[in-house]
């Protein structure tokens, strides 16, 4: 891909992010400004910021890539990401704002008056946050690599440095502006090229077989395999090969490949003819964003779909970077209205990635084969339009992709740094918050260097599953059930979140390879969420003496409109006083 325009576009996004962040720094004065923008952000600005923060690398690049490789089943991802906000609105939004806490651990402590539960919630926030940061950094590396052949680590380092600078300098207020700006940037960066791509598609006669299963080549195409891959063939394939397959050299020869897995060495050229089914690279050998837990899906597709639905619908409310933004609303009613606007904004955005996925199946099906499907969004303008127009549109998309990494990463860093500052570092205050920021970013950056190819979809799915089976029961039961006790909450989080974490960690480590057990481990939400709720309820019922004495007063504060409780949340106000410089 021509990088004449893409590199300046990425640079422009980075500079604009720093600039808008610096604008926030000028008016970010107190600790309260730092953490929750003094709770004065109106619904529209806050909704754009929430949406900007939420639409991550997985949304911007990953969904189109997943759809390209695995077909329309993958559209459940964006649907789940959106519907998660509806569930959050129904059960959590307004009471969470009225709880007057800064972070999820604050909520846990305010509700249950227990330092232990607070620390446990803090550990899960840091864990989920780091898990979610890792793919953002890797996605940035992949994008820069596709655009400019820069080494894989460079993109991650750039994102880490910019995010640390904006977050540490201005805190929440500055990232509110940055993220609202980045929502509109991301929408534009996907919408404008999509319009041109659809026009190009119509000019091409509007071929419709993008929706066919499975994807096919629509013309003769030569594919060069840049990195050694294992191809899984579901049906025999006849292909012209020049290069090495399964250890044997072929020189521009037409050969028949039987059903099964075949190793294609790097540098091999495959020539497909029109109508050939597009083979798919095996998961084990590439670490792109689009390589989901494919093996589990083939064995239990319905189970996997329902597991995905449950994890995304219920997991959204517990994502640390999502929840922290609700504290910036001025009151509970505004928090609710903000959520409705968010639903509209991210729903509008998610209409676009499927367009890229469908067009990718038509015009770039070979990406599925080389394992570069995540690059589909970046490469389509060049493939379909070409020339100067294609380059400019490609540059716009690249800028948007970087905005996606920057915004999600800064939200996550903010949340993790908040927990680290309050619960881990010895003293509070703005200076320590800056130290916490660096710490929050350093660990996933180091991990991305060490772990290497952890697939983005897997890491994001893991974060959702863990959040759905730890924070979802804590929030829902904490807000609606009077008899929740600290031991019950702790046990539920440990059993549910812990088992979900172990299950997906085991899957990623490659244990066990096949069968029902594998499907159960790869999509844990279906059993771990009910398990978490059940544990929390049963242990709470078994320890009725431990129900915190202030429970009725706290629940009254969560649910009563602000005008009936004196218009302010006392605990939080006191804390702001303490922290004020």
């Amino acid at each position: 891909m021509n990088d004449t325009y893409a590199v300046p576009a990425v640079a422009l996004v980075v500079v604009a992010t720093v600039f808008v962040g610096a604008f926030g720094l000028r008016i970010s004065r107190t600790t309260s400004d730092f953490y929750v923008a003094s709770r004065t952000v109106g619904p529209r600005l806050n909704a754009a910021a929430i949406s900007g923060e939420y639409l991550s690398a997985a949304s911007f690049l990953g969904i189109a890539g997943l759809v390209l490789v695995q077909g329309p089943d993958m559209l459940w991802y964006p649907v789940g990401y959106t519907a998660g906000y509806l569930v959050l609105l129904l059960f959590v939004a307004a009471p969470l704002r009225r709880s007057g806490a800064y972070t999820l651990p604050d909520f846990a402590e305010a509700r249950l008056a227990s330092k232990t539960v607070r620390r446990l919630a803090g550990a899960f926030v840091v864990g989920v946050g780091w898990l979610y940061l890792l793919p953002q950094l890797q996605g940035a590396g992949l994008t820069l690599n596709v655009l400019t052949d820069a080494p894989e680590w460079l993109g991650g380092v750039i994102v880490a440095v910019v995010v640390c600078a904006t977050v540490a300098a201005g805190g929440m207020r500055s990232i509110t502006f940055v993220q609202a700006f980045q929502y509109w940037l991301k929408l534009t960066a996907l919408l404008v090229p999509a319009l041109f791509l659809v026009l190009a598609w119509q000019g091409d006669g509007g071929p419709r077989h993008a929706f066919d299963e499975p994807a096919e080549f629509r013309e003769q195409r030569v594919v060069r395999v840049d990195e050694t891959v294992d191809l899984k063939l579901a049906s025999p394939l006849t292909v012209t090969v020049s290069g090495t397959i399964d250890g044997r050299r072929h020189d521009d020869r037409r050969i028949d490949l039987p059903v099964g897995t075949h190793r294609i060495d790097r540098g091999t050229r495959l020539t497909f003819t029109k109508g050939d089914t597009v083979p798919v690279a095996d998961r084990a050998t590439n670490g792109g964003m689009s390589t989901s837990l494919a093996a589990g899906r083939e064995e239990r597709p319905l189970y996997a779909t329902y597991g995905l639905i449950l994890a995304t619908f219920l997991g959204t409310m517990g994502l640390p970077h999502v929840v922290v933004r609700f504290y910036t609303s001025p009151h509970g009613v505004a928090a609710r209205r903000t959520t409705v606007v968010v639903l509209g904004l991210i729903g509008a955005f998610y209409l676009l990635p499927p367009v890229y996925g469908a067009l990718g199946r038509l015009y770039a099906p070979d990406l599925a084969l080389t394992g570069d499907a995540d690059a589909a969004v970046l490469l389509l303008p060049d493939r379909m339009i070409g020339g100067l127009g294609g380059d400019l549109l490609g540059a716009l998309v690249a800028g948007g992709a970087f905005a996606a990494f920057l915004s999600t990463a800064s939200g996550l860093t903010m949340a993790v740094a908040g927990v680290l500052t309050q619960d881990v570092l010895p003293a509070r205050g703005v200076r320590h918050f800056r130290l916490g920021t660096v710490l929050a970013m350093a660990v996933p950056l180091a991990a991305s260097g060490l772990v290497g190819g952890l697939p983005v979809a897997d890491a994001v799915g893991l974060a959702f599953a863990v959040s759905a089976s730890s924070f979802c029961p804590l929030l829902v039961l904490g807000i609606w059930w009077r008899r929740l006790t600290p031991p019950g909450a702790a046990a539920g989080m440990l059993v549910g979140g812990g088992s979900a974490l172990l299950a997906v960690a085991a899957t990623m480590a490659g244990y066990p390879g096949t069968g029902t057990l594998h499907a159960l481990l790869a999509w844990p939400a279906l059993w771990s969420v009910p398990l978490a709720f059940l544990t929390m309820v049963l242990v709470s019922l078994a320890t009725p003496g431990k129900v915190p004495a202030e429970t009725p007063a706290i629940l009254a504060r969560f649910h009563l409109p602000e005008e009936l409780v004196g218009g302010r949340t006392r605990a939080a106000t006191k804390e702001i006083e303490l922290w004020r410089r």
């Binding site: 459940w76 964006p78 959106t82 009613v333 009254a556 302010r568 702001i576």
Partner: protein, 119 residues
Amino acid sequence: MPNDPTERRVVVTGVPRRTRRTSGYHRPRTEIDEQTTLGHTYVRSLMRSQLRAALAVFAILVLLVAPLPLVFAAMPDGAGLEWAVLGFGIYPPLVLLAHWHVRRAERNEQDLVRLVEDR
């Protein structure tokens, strides 16, 4: 209005302070502040109506979404429908459900406020 600059919000009530002290009548507002049995009843009834509103919308969401994977799997031409529904059709109902719930939740709260502020 409080002189302390940190207190930004103002308590809005229909009744001046004096009247409340002198009258022997316990208004619901005081009940809530002082956490009497009557105050708890107000909170409980609000929580129940809000939970009912939330569960109603949640039930609609479940009924809407849960059968979809089965329908797509069962239909011979499921893929085309799946593209249409998941790629586009499902988003407007989600936003409408959210909008409907917000109006209902705010009405529940306003009902309580009117009850409490009314003497």
